[in-house]
């Protein structure tokens, strides 16, 4: 039973950053932006989270800084892709490498270390215990005692679904992706909608970054997002942006993450680390098979 709850908890913690980033990605997906910069936003968030938490000695300010850091990255994306109309693909790749370079540089410049920074001064985000839920035998250790950001991710899923499908902004958001010219002629500025979608994406990626560096572990290491932004992009594509679908896919990826940790006992750790990426390929395979069936 202990292994079971361990696996479930591993699944949840693996899924959280992917879920948050993918929710951000889905907003830009609906707005018709080819946004591949989640990786960079997450990395920027993770670094600023550690920075804020370390200097202000408080985790709420750490989360705030993480969000601000990711918003900064989103801001660069907005300036180049929306205002200067630079190719989104180029902007995204360059921004990811910019984030990697900047965080490595700042790590060296501010903390005077190479590779990774960890220290007792970093305040991590605490788990939340619910008084009554906690006492349920097995489920208690799953539903209660998770990291605060895990609950925020859950809440964000609902909010994103509501925002996209039940509000006026959501309608305009989908219109921006569906037919931008039509939206513009009806008097709503597409660029305005896209900017907001990118800002929200930055916010969610900032939370994802904060979870990586202040929740999952309490440190920052070079390139610690390790392709999670790309996996979240795959998740968005796989379910055509549906928030509930994203939640399920993220759990599958999280499960493969937890499975990898478990497999480390039998396989060399390098093969175990491959599991999430192989899982992404397998998921893409099923997606394309399904797409082909739809066409036939």
């Amino acid at each position: 039973m202990n292994m079971f709850t361990g696996l479930i908890n591993g699944m949840i913690s693996g899924a959280t950053p992917i879920l948050l980033a993918a929710l951000g990605g889905t907003l830009t997906y609906y707005a018709g932006i080819f946004n591949i910069a989640m990786e960079g936003m997450m990395l920027g968030g993770a670094f600023c989270g550690v920075l804020g938490s370390y200097y202000f000695q408080s985790w709420p300010l750490g989360i705030l800084c993480a969000v601000l850091g990711a918003l900064f990255m989103a801001g660069i994306f907005i300036v180049f892709s929306v205002f200067l109309k630079t190719d989104e693909f180029v902007t995204g790749i360059a921004l990811n490498l910019f984030a990697l370079g900047t965080t490595t540089y700042m790590l060296r410049q501010i903390f005077k270390v190479k590779g990774a920074f960890t220290g007792p001064g970093i305040q991590s985000v605490p788990p939340i215990h619910f008084p009554l839920l906690r006492d349920i035998p097995v489920l208690g250790s799953i539903f209660s005692g998770q990291n605060l950001i895990v609950y925020l991710a859950l809440l964000s899923t609902i909010l994103v679904w509501y925002l996209v499908f039940k509000t006026r902004f959501g309608l305009r958001l989908r219109a921006a992706g569906y037919n931008a010219a039509c939206l513009d002629t009806s008097g709503v500025r597409t660029s305005q909608i896209r900017i907001w979608s990118l800002i929200l994406c930055g916010l969610l990626c900032g939370l994802a970054g904060a979870y990586l560096s202040l929740g999952y572990v309490t440190l920052f290491s070079e390139n610690m997002s390790a392709g999670r932004g790309w996996i979240s992009l795959a998740a968005v594509i796989l379910v055509n942006g549906n928030p509930w679908g994203i939640a399920i896919i993220s759990l599958v990826f999280g499960f493969s993450d937890g499975l990898g940790l478990l497999l480390q006992q039998v396989l060399p750790s390098q093969f175990a680390s491959m599991v999430p990426y192989v899982a992404t390929l397998i998921a893409l395979y099923f997606y394309s098979v399904q797409e082909r069936k739809k066409k036939a």
């Binding site: 490498l97 390098q270 992404t280």
Partner: protein, 345 residues
Amino acid sequence: MNKKLISGVAGIIVAMLLGAVIMLVQGYHPVETYAALFNYSLGDFFSLATTLRNAVPLILTGLSASVAFASGPVNLGQPGQLVMGALLATIGGLYVDLPPVLMIPFLMLLAMAGGALWSGVAALMRQWFNMSEFITTLMLNMIADFFTYWAISYPFFDNTAYSPMTPQISQNGWLPKFGEFHSSVIVMLLAFAIVWFVFTHWTAGYEWRITGQNSLFARLGGCKIDKNYTAIMLTTGALAGLAGGLVVMGGPHRFLKGIGANYAWDGVMIAMVANNGIIATLLYGLFFATLQTGALGMELITNVPSEFIQVLQAAIVLVIVAGRGYLDIFMDKAAARRKTRERTA
């Protein structure tokens, strides 16, 4: 060409000014720093030779990305293809021993085969299951990373070493050095010449370019899109693999952890900033190599961390690409105004 040159030079200047501002904010002296940077990478014959040598993996991966992007496939798998090429060349160098005349080409072929193998996996997934190479190559990068890490930690581990690495390859497979000048540069220039010739003068290259610009037109014109797709993926994979092989054969003569560095992603950036032009890739590759080589000297002399160059590179890419679009509009407007004036006069 003229327009490209202007936007390139202007972009570099603007990005470097941005870099100077960042340095000023942090309390460094920008002029001194840039002087140290260029002095260390271009100042004398030795530094120039080092810069050329550092340009080899950048230009080869850059060519790989340029050819792929210009022909359609979004092959972002250069990092994985590079390490797989390096691994295969290393394995060849460990278990085969031939005289250098045969050994060096043999290892290069192995390296290219390694890269082509890895891009071939992505090509197969696309051809059989219609899986987009954009995501699959990215995932294959991570898998190749862990796979090579495993390979140098267990089966090919050098028992005398303290960190994961293979033993050195047979000396017959080492690329010769002529004084400071490294022969990997010759291999790179040869590869560049072949790619340039094929891409601009051969039927195959013409078909690739047309497919990249308008695949429907190419298909109606009689190009075999699927066959070309596979050929492009294999070629670009082989180029990235060759980059990895040359790094091993020319540098540490073994596969160390992290040998791929950031070469391949830098190559992708070079392709983007070069707008997938073959000659522009060579030039920007040389420029990026200059920055990276000079980074070390910059750190030694002025204490600016060498990682600063990574930031500067990304800034250069963004500024040039954004500026290019704007400059085009601006120059077209100017040309149109000139024309109307001539007509009315």
